[in-house]
Symmetry: C2
Subunit: 459 residues, 2 copies
């Protein structure tokens, strides 16, 4: 079968770009089973002779388009749902294999208590052999939620276990909250710059984004109020503590004022907090949720990132009516986060080693931050030195384009996030986000030397 | 604070059902912090004196409405999104604490290889200590997907690892596929009866359901074709192998014919397969996906249910263009199923003990099925004896109402699923689903005696 086809291709029976007969037609023509033809077509596809485009059939391959990624080249679009858009603009960068990865705001696995966690995990499994055969409830394990509510209460948060939902990563909490509270055509406030998957999610939901600049001292609250009054946004997605990508922290008085605005204009605040324990000197202010007496905040709290990111255990806290609006989507999405990860998280999060680990981690991360600042000190580039978190938000010299700098850096095997990816308006070409959390001091210095080399002669 | 309020309530300062001042107003009135007031209100809420309704405030409680569940009594609706509906109609039944639980199509944990799995889990964690600090990719672990593709290929499925996505339970796969492929107002074919969360999901998406009866010998394909031609449904959600709730299996010739209809009318088939390994005599026919040469099937394959349900590891298989439409939603939903569960699944699914376990499980489940049939033999009720799966779909005698029978059975501490919950048209009061997988033979006999006792004098 393949031979007949291969020969047909070689002798020009079909031209480059031309559609060859469908699997069904070819099977009938040759009198063979359709699966035989499918296998043959696939073999020739692997050999690069054909290009697959299931719905519209197979095509004779002309040439490999420049920059074609695996799975692209699909001509037929299902087009039914709203999903066929960009996945995550960050992931394109993360997929590049580079030596100096300053594009990912992730902790270096060597800083995590892996052996300790593995030992804990073994104890948990040994002592609860039925764990693997048990489903979690939709809201998450009751014991874990009780323990976490207590932990949060000790940290000035007034809440009960009933106000906590366990999610598979904070990302899931964000996805559920957005989908529960927004409809296509709705408006939402979003920080500028912001955590880029939030932009992707809101775009995909067909929501109109109203950007609010975040600055070292917070927001322009007059502008926030004007937008809330004039545009009536359904929600405001914010990341007020060691903000990603800038590292800025919204001051306490603004937090309280935001709550009042939220109440006045009936605008829900989606507060994303991931790194508040990774402060370098003083702990940050309490989250907005601490002031939420009227039920206007959805608080997304990620912890597993600095313990065991692979566990994907995070919490969504909200007052009961708001939580009741989100819960059905969690039930439909996965019926509850897998129990094993919840129990493992619980076992080590509440162990005494946890606070020791955090204390060490703060020192290690702050040393890396200083190493990055040191390596950039002669560059003439500028930034606000963050008081916590994983990122430096750097302003490039006049005329230097972040995306062009990224291209040149990638050639030298160093990656970072260019400003436009974090900008709901797709601008901010004068900014880049450099994460100092994944590489050690020596590799940070080497990687930044590459970026600076790439910048030479630009701008 | 609480005392002042308690006294005010006692002396009738506010009438039953009346709104008391908001947290903000009361705090200003008393000159105390808002959080103090919130805590006070909550205390009185716990004491049953107040009823919370955050947005509109707190109300003096009149009396506890009959049948009020935790978290209900909310008067304010966020109303923004599409989520504020029923969660799962099944879960209401599952929440009831009963002694004889024949409502859940779950395997008895004592039939699962728990100790063996726990040992495997410990080995996996010991040998891969970095597992807990590593994120999965969006599509799932490459090694697991390669292994599963090989396993499926050995079982007559032509597919590659690139056509497989790991999902957090088959439920997540269904949610992602529905959301990727459907928009509000679209039409979808659905079996009647069907797996009830599918009904909940489609309702929540605002999709118009077109029911297709499933019978012991499959569907009326003429009707399916007429519906496809006239209504142009986007997809058909089906569960053709040991169908839930009926246990019916769609024959091979219908499977092939369905593929042809799907191609002709451009209707995607969402094929849900959960229990095909739990056959009592002969293995069932190959899934529809085995015949999918043109890319019209999304195949949802659950395995973890009969190994370690708590792991929540399932697979979604589809040809590349269809998968490409679903993938972005998985990226947004959770960024990838937690890696630990994937590696644990892989470790024991591909062990030699797995096939031994399955062989024993088939015997155990078929004995329970026979025990259930035995216990019902004198009832005069009728059913098709299933060739696999976990459920008996029983027809009640003329005039007996399933929901009424459930009420009376619950009083005797026995639960099952009444027909209407499985029916997209909310009828089928003459049917009930009895699951024989969770209770052992003795308890099945006892539980069914209760159900028959409840039925006495009815109908």
């Amino acid at each position: 079968m393949e031979e007949a086809l291969r020969s047909g291709l070689r002798h020009g029976r079909w031209a480059a770009g031309e559609k060859i007969p469908s699997v069904r037609t070819m099977a009938e023509e040759l009198g063979v089973h359709r699966l035989t033809v499918l296998k043959g077509y696939r073999l020739l596809e692997e050999e690069g002779l054909l290009e697959a485009s299931y719905r519209s059939g197979y095509y004779v391959r002309a040439e490999v388009p420049a920059g074609e990624a695996a799975g692209s080249g699909v001509r037929w679009s299902y087009g039914a749902g709203t999903a066929c858009g960009a996945e995550s603009r960050l992931s394109d960068i993360h997929r590049r294999a580079v030596r100096y990865r300053m594009s990912e705001a992730l902790l270096d696995p060597t800083l995590l208590p892996n052996r300790f966690l593995a030992r804990h995990a073994q104890e948990v499994i040994a002592s609860q052999p039925l764990l693997l055969s048990t489903y979690s409830t939709v809201m998450g394990d009751g014991e874990l939620r009780e323990a976490m509510a207590g932990y949060m209460q000790d940290r000035r948060l007034e809440l009960s276990a009933e106000e906590l939902m366990v999610t598979t990563g904070a990302q899931q909490g964000m996805d559920l909250a957005f989908r529960a509270l927004l409809q296509p055509g709705d408006k939402a406030l979003i920080e500028r710059p912001t955590y880029s998957p939030a932009i992707d999610m809101l775009r995909q939901l067909g929501v109109r984004m109203l950007p609010v600049e975040i600055r070292p001292d917070g927001y322009d609250l007059d502008r926030v109020e004007k937008l809330m009054a004039a545009e009536r946004p359904k929600l405001f997605y914010l990341n007020p503590t060691y903000h990603n990508p800038t590292g800025y922290t919204v001051p306490v008085r603004q937090r309280k004022a935001l709550l009042e605005l939220a109440e006045r204009y009936r605008c829900i605040l989606i507060e994303d907090e991931a790194y508040s324990d990774l402060y370098f000197h003083e702990p940050p202010p309490a989250p907005l949720f601490a002031y939420d007496t009227e039920g206007w905040v959805v608080y997304l709290r990620s912890y597993s990132k600095y313990i065991a990111p692979g566990l994907r255990i995070a919490f969504l806290a909200a007052r009961p009516p708001l939580l009741a609006a989100i819960r059905p989507l969690k039930a439909l999405a996965d019926g509850g986060t897998p129990l094993l990860g919840q129990k493992l998280f619980q076992s080590f999060f509440f162990s005494h080693r946890m606070q020791e680990h955090l204390a060490k981690l703060r020192v290690a991360v702050s040393m890396r931050k200083e190493a990055m600042e040191q390596a950039l000190s002669a560059s003439g580039w500028s930034w606000e030195s963050p008081a916590g978190g994983l990122n430096l938000w750097v302003r490039l010299p006049e005329g230097m384009q972040a995306s062009r700098l990224l291209e040149r850096s990638l050639e030298l095997s160093a990656a970072f996030v260019p400003g436009p990816i974090c900008d709901p308006l797709d601008a901010m070409q004068d900014r880049i986000r450099l994460s100092y959390s994944l590489l050690d001091e020596r590799r940070l210095a080497e990687g930044l030397a590459r970026v600076l080399e790439a910048a030479e002669g630009m701008g």
